[in-house]
């Protein structure tokens, strides 16, 4: 798997590099015997000989999610300067990691020990982006990162670093796409730090290809009085695994995790999230919903920790799935681990098929079967889509739903 790859030339922290190399030397790819990977097989990744070649994309017209945004484009993880914005808004500094000086990237809180994909990402990091939002900056235009996989058996080890300064407000859009890609693999990490009273929203749109793989880990830490929202929309990709780890380190925080996944063919999408409430007086809301068609499989594993002295936590978690065929499947595991005694937490998981009686009812009013099912799917997934505040992201999502599934929800 690693023979064709070159060790990273990005100036990362030495200790972290060593730790990553150590993990790679000692560990194999996870198997389904490991609890965290029980329903997701990654063996095929180990059988592919990856390279990380530079490819060019001529246009990003079909990948541009927001029109009025500061856009940075990466192809197979390599920075594409000519397709990226040359103007950076006030209050922000943005730089590809390849342009960072020694010591500039600093150390991170990404877990490297035993985490082979994080280690792979670090040791063979292709490139990435560092976004520093100044304290008190109100960045009106979203910052848009477009990542395109291209060519055969290309591995992109890509990293996003976001530091949202105290009292700042910003939105980041991450779009993952594939263009003439065969067996390509995006192995992505994000390290996100949300400062005191900062507001940060991340909209993540995954639309790669049925024969590509994507594993990403977002490591988020929230300071006091901050609000962090992440909306993960997964509409294409053969094997997708999203690890979302959020440490709530300051009081009076709000954390929103929303996810919508619509799968068909033989897609496999696995959303793993951990919200770790370490301090009192915080709210977290998690809503993930999926529609699974054909022979596709989905996994949801959401864990909420409430630590011993983290009183007055409101933590809500919900996962809903609709299976469109008998061959579609889902493994859903919401988990709560509570060590405090004055909290309000709930979790729930539902999996079912579309209510056939309702389909009949709508047809008995003259709707075609397709319209009836579309209306019900739209109502089901609409709960999540309505959480997306950025209209461009929402419109783009609707256009993908239409082109990939023929669903017109608007």
């Amino acid at each position: 798997m690693l023979e064709g790859l070159t060790p990273t030339s990005i100036l990362l922290d030495e200790k972290e590099l060593n730790s990553a190399q150590n993990t790679l030397a000692k560990n194999q790819l996870p198997t389904t015997r490991m609890e965290a990977w029980k329903y997701t097989r990654v063996a095929k990744l180990g059988k592919t000989n990856y390279t990380s070649s530079e490819e060019t994309v001529t246009s990003i017209d079909s990948y541009r999610i927001a029109n009025d945004a500061t856009t940075f484009v990466f192809v197979n993880g390599h920075f594409s300067e000519e397709l990226s914005s040359d103007e950076i808004p006030a209050g922000v500094s943005i730089s590809p990691l390849s342009a960072c000086m020694e010591g500039e990237i600093g150390s991170t809180n990404l877990i490297l020990e035993g985490e082979i994909f994080n280690a792979l990402n670090t040791a063979f990091l292709t490139d990435g982006i560092m976004i520093d939002i100044e304290a008190k900056a109100n960045v009106e235009k979203p910052i848009q990162i477009i990542h395109v996989l291209k060519g055969e058996a290309n591995l992109s080890n890509f990293k996003t670093i976001i530091n949202a300064g105290d009292f700042s407000k910003a939105a980041v859009i991450q779009g993952f796409f594939a263009e003439d890609a065969d067996r390509a693999f995006a192995n992505v990490t994000s390290e996100i730090s949300v400062g005191t009273n900062a507001f940060l929203t991340v909209d993540k749109v995954q639309y790669e290809a049925e024969n590509t793989s994507h594993i990403s880990t977002e490591q988020v830490s929230q300071g006091k009085d901050s609000t962090f929202t992440i909306n993960t929309i997964t509409l294409n990709g053969g094997l997708v695994r999203n690890n979302l780890n959020i440490e709530v380190n300051g009081e009076n925080c709000e954390t929103n995790l929303n996810g919508a996944y619509l799968l068909k063919g033989k897609q496999h999408v696995d959303n793993h999230s951990v919200v770790d409430h370490r301090v009192p007086n915080c709210n977290s809301n998690e809503l993930y919903k999926g529609v699974i068609d054909d022979k596709a499989t989905a996994v949801f594993n959401g864990k909420v920790f409430v630590r011993k002295d983290a009183q007055k936590i409101n933590a809500f978690q919900s996962n809903g799935n609709v299976l469109m065929t008998d061959d579609a499947s889902v493994n859903s595991k919401p988990e709560l681990e509570i060590y405090a005694d004055d909290v309000k937490c709930s979790h729930g998981s539902t999996t079912g098929q579309l209510d056939e009686e309702a389909v009949f009812y709508l047809r008995a009013r003259g709707l075609s079967e397709k319209s009836a099912r579309q209306l019900m799917v739209s109502a089901f997934i609409g709960d999540v889509l309505e959480k997306i505040e950025n209209e461009d992201v929402l419109n783009f999502t609707h256009s993908l739903l239409k082109s990939r599934f023929g669903w017109d929800f608007e």
Binding site: L362, R363, A364, G366, L367, S368, E369, A379
Partner: protein, 250 residues
């Protein structure tokens, strides 16, 4: 309007309708009464095209076309309407959004132009007033959180919006208090014309005080065993169905 001949239908291999004949002409209201298990709701389901039922024999002609050959939605588009005995709650699907889709799909089927948003909203206002349905309910999720009476009024509201040729009201009266019943009946009576027709399925004679039928039929053991003028309903109310059973046994 509709001619049902020798209709046999079964579910899970069990025959429920055993040779039912019925003819309904435009401008008429027919009441179908009968004891539990006689096949009243099966008749409604078979006419609406519910796929759980298998028609094993017989024919249904609906205004010159073979009804049994059509899918549920085609029947609706050709002007057949079923007011459900148990209207379904559909969370997240807005009542008026789906009605608008329905109306426009019906119009498209007929080769007509789509209804404009303005015309649609005006119609919603007019028709929801007819059944005294709070316009707020009209725009909420289909039947979600509606009371029993509101659900039934919503059925008649939808009927008013879709303007069907033939309406089948499946026990629309059951579970309604007298005020709700009056509202529902008033809706049905107002919509009545010489171009449309109704089949009113009921267990109780009470409804027929408000929706006056031209004919009353008694359905028993999968067949219509007795037909008569509206007075037949009163006789049934007074004597119960045992009287029919005895007469049948003879």
């Amino acid at each position: 309007m509709i001619t049902i001949k020798n209709l046999h239908a079964s579910i899970d291999g069990k025959e429920i309708l055993k040779g039912l004949d019925l003819t309904v002409n435009a401008g008429e209201v027919h009441a179908i009464m009968g004891p539990n298990g006689a096949g009243k709701s099966t008749l409604a389901s078979v006419l609406a095209g519910r796929e759980d039922y298998e028609v094993t024999e017989g024919s249904v002609d609906f205004d010159g076309t073979d009804l049994l050959d059509m899918d549920t939605e085609e029947r609706a588009r050709e002007g057949l309407f079923l007011a459900f005995q148990y209207p379904v709650e559909i969370p997240g699907v807005s009542n008026i959004n789906f009605l608008r889709t329905a109306i426009n799909e019906i119009r498209e089927h007929k080769g007509e132009e789509a209804m404009s948003a303005k015309e649609f909203m005006a119609t919603v206002r007019e028709k929801s007033a007819l059944v005294e349905l709070d316009p707020k309910l009209a725009s909420r999720s289909v039947n979600e959180g509606f009371s029993g009476g509101e659900k039934k009024r919503n059925e008649i509201f939808q009927m008013a919006m879709l303007e069907p040729k033939l309406s089948i009201l499946d026990e629309t009266d059951s579970g309604l208090d007298i005020d709700a019943l009056r509202i529902v009946a008033n809706g049905v009576n107002t919509l009545k014309s010489d171009k449309n027709a109704s089949i009113v399925i009921t267990h109780y004679q009470r409804l027929l005080d408000h929706i006056v039928p031209d004919f009353v039929h008694v359905l028993y053991d999968g067949k219509i065993v007795k037909s008569g003028p509206k007075e037949l309903a009163l006789e049934l109310e007074e004597k119960g169905y045992d009287w029919i059973k005895e007469e049948m046994a003879l």
